[in-house]
Amino acid sequence: MGLLSGVAVVAAAVLTVSGCSTSSSDDSGGAQTITVYNAQHESLTQEWVNAFTAQTGIKVEMRNGSDTELGNQIVAEGNKSPADVFLTENSPAMTLVERAGLFAHVNQDVLEQVPSQYRPSSGNWTGIGARSTVFAYNKKKLTEAQLPQSLLDLQAPAWKNRWAASPSGADFQAIVSAVLELKGADVTRQWLAGMKDNARTYQGNGAVLKAINAGQIPAGVIYHYYWFGDQAKTGENSDNVSLHYFKNGDPGAFVSVSGGGVLKSSRKQAAAQQFLKFITGQNGQKVLQTGTSFEYPVGSGVTANPKLVPLPDLQAPAVDPAKLNSPQVTELMTTAGLL
């Protein structure tokens, strides 16, 4: 009696579990489904997916993770990868997958929606958004006169235990890749050594912002949209924080391009390209302008949310997004003892 009901329960469990996760690959006529390896913030991509599915009827399954985790996973999977589209927050992971030869060429009409400085010249992937590096500081702990002039100033002993970052995250590693590209390996190595001595590490830019706000550390290096996003909610993690933009083409003014690409191994090329076209088109970029992500739009001439500092005013250094090298960054950071 007990045995029979036990077996029934277990059988039901196994059926439930197998039913939950296999829905995507069987598109027998009717609605198609594409698989997106998504390293962007889940809430933002979900907004894109909802609007896209409403417009085209194509369903999207997201696998969430971080830039380099998913990028390396795609490289390890090779041409048997189940992914159709890869979306990232920063460019190094896109370059990683491109160098492994796994991207399909993006359709011309999609490429034309994005200005050339926000995509690589190879045309194997495109920019879908951008974010600016900022120096966030607690208004009560630092005055304007004490702010650093350049990102590289932070390696000086004067900044010991006075700034924070999240080195395990792809965001900060993208910033390091910009330093590497702009200043070379030697300067980067020295800066990272200084960072190891001076900086306090947190897991995630959100945690860094929260700590700065709470006064646990006077300042930190993060991306701009965390502050704007928190201000738009309750402000409990950012009311005491101000943002300082380095400008003047300093590595600290680096604007990181979020990327989107279609995998060569995808069996739903048309649908995948359609998804990229939607994201970089008017409706997709408007999500960045009016939504809660506060990242910068890059496509279809859509301007940024009025609360943000306009992109041209940031005086970002000119960096070719295709040249940012993540394996070397990982190696440098591992040697410095940050990873």
């Binding site: 277990v10 939950c20 390396n72 048997k80 995250g169 929260k210 591992t334 040697t335």
Partner: protein, 518 residues
Amino acid sequence: MDANPSRRVTARPHLPVVLAALAVMVVAAAVLPLGYVIAATIDTGWSTAAALLFRPRVAELLTNTVLLVVVTVPICVAVGVTAAWLVERTQVPGATVWAVLLAAPLAVPAFVNSYSWVTAVPSLGGLSGGVLIASLSYFPLVYIPAAATLRRLDPAVEESARALGATPWAVFFRIVLPQLRVALAGGALLVSLHLLAEYGAFVFIRFDTFTTAIFEQYQSTFNGTAATMLAGVLVLLCLTLLVIESVVRGSARYARIGPGVARRAVPAQLGWRYTPISLLFLALVIVASLGVPIVSVFRWLAIGGWAVWNWDVVGSTLTQTLGFGLAGAAVTCVLAFPIAWISVRHPGRFSRGLESSTYISSSLPGIVVALALVTVSIRYLHPLYQSVPVVIAAYALLFVPRALVNLRAGLAQAPVGLEEAAQSLGVAPLTAIVRVTLRLAAPATAAAGALVFLGIVTELTATLLLAPTGTRTLSMQFWSLSSEIDYAGAAPYALIMIVLSLPMTYVLFNQSKKAAGL
């Protein structure tokens, strides 16, 4: 051999071949992650491996991890033994209530505990924070076997010692504690293995250990070499702990010689001098390990209001977690069964070898097992990659020894003589096994399943790495929300995980009362 055939446990010495083959296959699979780490190390070559291993960062991680274990385990043992003593051997008021409450912290996953404490005391961090949270989350692993053993100790030896003039403290340290050695060694080992494998709890308080570093490396390089090297060091640490435990455990066993039956000890009177302080101690432990998480979770729920209860997501994550938990528990018990059968019915060197191998592999953290399975499935078993069977396989590899302990205890309560009696009455052999042995072993099997279910509900790292795209379990959902500092949004999932785990903890607690030690 016993004169009374119905009490005979071991069977005829000839090993059932099919069962032995099955057992060997399970053990071979269990040793796979260890093999992967060794193979990857050899693959990397000594110079690269040396460069990745002998660097300041690894020294930092090693210091943190070793200090964590060395400080937390004695605290857990002290708290666990004191609590067990107070509850089982004294007349402290409300002993039955305390007994259950002290086992309940097992239902609160360590990462939920950490999330609650970080809310209550935001500046908590570093080694002290890690030790606090780890002690509060894991002391029940020592308390439960200690309480079970204390309950069954023969008081006759203690009474003789008192009669010969020993003080109560001398009796405790010279008579009681040595008899607790096996239970304490096992409990301490479990605590240290959990500490080595813990990820979520230490991320909240920014405490870097090997497992958090492996995860960070994984996030930067997927299954890159540095991650595997760190995993290798972690494996070495685990094996060292296993060796230490078997040394501490020793081979001495305690049994009653002579006629008569062991009585239950008379609970000591605490009197007005010691009762308040005992109650204070117990209350403090419960408030810190249960009170803080529950209050924090409810506080976040109150702050979030009904908006954080996204019923679609709650429903689907709950269904998926239940599905994985039940399927995983069933598969694990089935896989552990051949090994348990052989070790009870045909004990000997073969069965001891089987058990030791599973024990070694289970001491590996979830992330190492997951990395191994990911590599194997990408390279050799591609159709299985990112599929449900791989996740269930990971759970089985991680939890077979937990199931084994209870299954063994259950089968030991089903003497083969009863089965033979059934056969002599005309029942076919297989039917006899099902109707007699399995029925008798059913409660213990339920406990085994409950323990595995508990492990699966709170499992985070392997699930994050292996789950098929589109899977969302409670722990994954909690983790993704709390990583974005959306603590209020994560609270419903924390609550559901705790509620799901409570019945299982109760089953486990009940079963432990019937079998001394883990």
